[in-house]
């Protein structure tokens, strides 16, 4: 909240963007992982990492960073687990954000 000067309306705007963009990005990550396309995986995970970073979501951001690193280093042995972790952490973040918004703006 510090980053947006406690502007709930603006936080709502960015959460809407997150809701809009995350499903497509996660889908792209899933496809890249299934196809073992390391470059596409690194690029999409990088974008999602940047996006999640705006919400100071360290666990979700860290999961995206892991996937990006796997893609860059072409080490895809544990990629499916990492994708599941990212999906879980991202979902948790979105739930937390919506809960926060409802609390602030019932």
């Amino acid at each position: 909240m510090d980053r947006v000067d406690d502007d709930i309306e603006f936080l709502g705007e960015t959460v809407t963007m997150l809701d809009d963009d995350v499903p497509a990005l996660l889908e792209n990550i899933r496809v890249a992982a299934a196809e073992r396309n390391a470059a596409a995986l690194a690029k999409t995970a990088h974008t999602l990492k940047s996006m999640l970073g705006n919400f100071c979501a360290s666990a979700a951001e860290e999961a995206a960073r892991d996937l990006e690193r796997m893609g860059r280093e072409s080490r895809l042995d544990n990629v499916d687990v990492a994708v599941e972790t990212l999906e879980y952490q991202t979902e948790r973040l979105r739930e937390a954000l919506h809960l926060f918004l409802r609390m602030k703006n019932p």
Binding site: D2, R3, V4, D5, D7, F10, E13, T14, M17, L18, D21, K43, H46, T47, K49, S50, M51, G53, N54, C56, R65
Partner: protein
């Protein structure tokens, strides 16, 4: 400040835009490097905040394009990067970025980076102003040096004229008396020979009819007459030299310019003789108040230029005309002419067609200066291969 954002991830882009607009900046947010570059080309920005990885045009290419575009003022470039992407930071700084900022962007950090950018922009602006002032001062200095050269050349020329005047005065003084004596003696000798020849008529026949004696008297008489003619020429020459330099007339004087033209012609006669015909087409001229010695320099320069322009045989026509409170002196030659591209430069100090080390390139520059100081003008017409015509126009009150 006008700030351009290039960031493909829209939450980061929107967050940056909100922060910057909140601090009163004018912000344009673009979603990749190509769009950012398009906007920058339309109108440069004070600060550009750019992501590194972007579709179509990445941060490195955008930074290079901006640095290569030479906008009128300095653009401060801040690169956005992930916390772990140190290699990108190095590459970005090498490409021309001024600073970098880790994502997610912290507002306090962004604010201090912007302040640093503003300081750099201000310093760059001051530097540009100083460079501009320095460049202007340099131009002024060039003009001053050029004027100084011109003045120096005019002074040297003036000194030369003064020396010539002194020399002429000295020569006139030293030569006039002995020449006078020779002239008078020749006259006496001719008259004495006349008397001897008269006496010869009364002499006894063997003397009177002595052919050797009579021939000797004729030879002596001719020598006397030749001496007188030669003396007259020397006197005229010294007078012309004096007239040309007009040392006694360094101040303004009312003169007939035709006298100056004639004095000058007599000094260049030896260069023209047997090669160049001089046509004098003198119309009536009112006397004008001027610096005669200076105008004689102009005539001398123009006549010598005309002489040099004529490669073999040719004609120099000198015309004088008056009317509309002005007098005109035209010196026209049938020489090689002046190239059209040189016509606008011939009065510039340093311009010469004579090759390095031959002409000083200051002759016509001095002529121009002298004539304009008399509130007059010099017009030139020329056709390559046919000749040139210089017309000096002076107001009748040229002083």
């Amino acid at each position: 400040m006008r700030i351009l954002i290039a960031e493909d991830e829209r939450i980061t882009r929107r967050t940056l835009q909100k922060m910057l607009e909140g601090w009163g900046h004018s912000v344009v947010a673009t979603q990749d490097g190509a769009e950012a570059w398009e906007r920058f080309e339309q109108q440069p920005f004070d600060i550009v905040v750019t992501d590194w990885d972007m579709p179509r045009m990445d941060g490195r290419e955008l930074i290079r394009s901006i640095r290569g575009s030479e906008p009128t003022s300095y653009t401060y470039l801040i690169m956005l990067t992930g916390r772990s992407e140190r290699a990108d930071v190095v590459a970005g700084m090498e490409a021309g970025a001024d600073d970098f900022l880790a994502k997610p962007v912290d507002s306090s950090e962004l604010r201090v980076r912007l302040h640093a950018g503003e300081r750099i922009i201000e310093l760059e602006r001051q530097l540009a102003n100083r460079n501009r002032a320095l460049s202007e001062a340099n131009e002024q200095l060039k003009t001053t040096i050029s004027e100084l050269r011109e003045t120096q050349a005019a002074l040297v020329q003036s000194e030369k004229m003064a020396s010539l005047g002194n020399l002429a005065a000295g020569v006139a003084h030293e030569i006039n008396n002995p020449i006078g004596s020779i002239n008078a003696n020749s006259d006496v000798m001719i008259r004495a020979i006349g008397k001897l020849k008269e006496s010869l008529e009364q002499a006894p026949a063997d003397v009177k009819d002595n052919r050797q004696l009579r021939r000797s008297f004729d030879v002596l008489e001719n020598i006397g007459k030749t001496n007188q003619t030669a003396c007259d020429r020397v006197v005229r020459m010294v007078q012309s030299l004096s007239n040309f330099a007009r040392l006694d007339e360094a101040e303004r004087k009312r003169v007939d310019l035709r006298d100056g033209l004639e004095s000058t012609l007599s000094l260049v006669h030896h260069k023209l003789a047997n090669r160049i015909d001089v046509i004098r087409d003198y119309g009536d001229l009112p006397q004008i108040v001027c610096f005669p010695n200076q105008l004689n320099q102009v005539f001398m320069n123009m006549l010598l230029n005309a002489e040099e322009a004529i490669e073999d045989k040719g004609t120099i026509t000198i015309r004088t005309r008056s009317g509309d409170n002005a007098v005109k002196v035209t010196i026209e030659d049938t020489g090689v002419g002046i190239r059209p591209e040189h016509l606008s430069k011939i009065f510039d100090p340093g311009f010469t067609r004579k090759g390095v080390g031959v002409g000083s390139g200051l002759g016509l520059a001095i002529c121009y200066k002298i004539v304009t100081e008399h509130r007059g003008k010099i017009d030139v017409e020329s056709e390559l291969g046919s000749g040139s015509k210089f017309t000096i126009t002076l107001p009748t009150d040229a002083s």
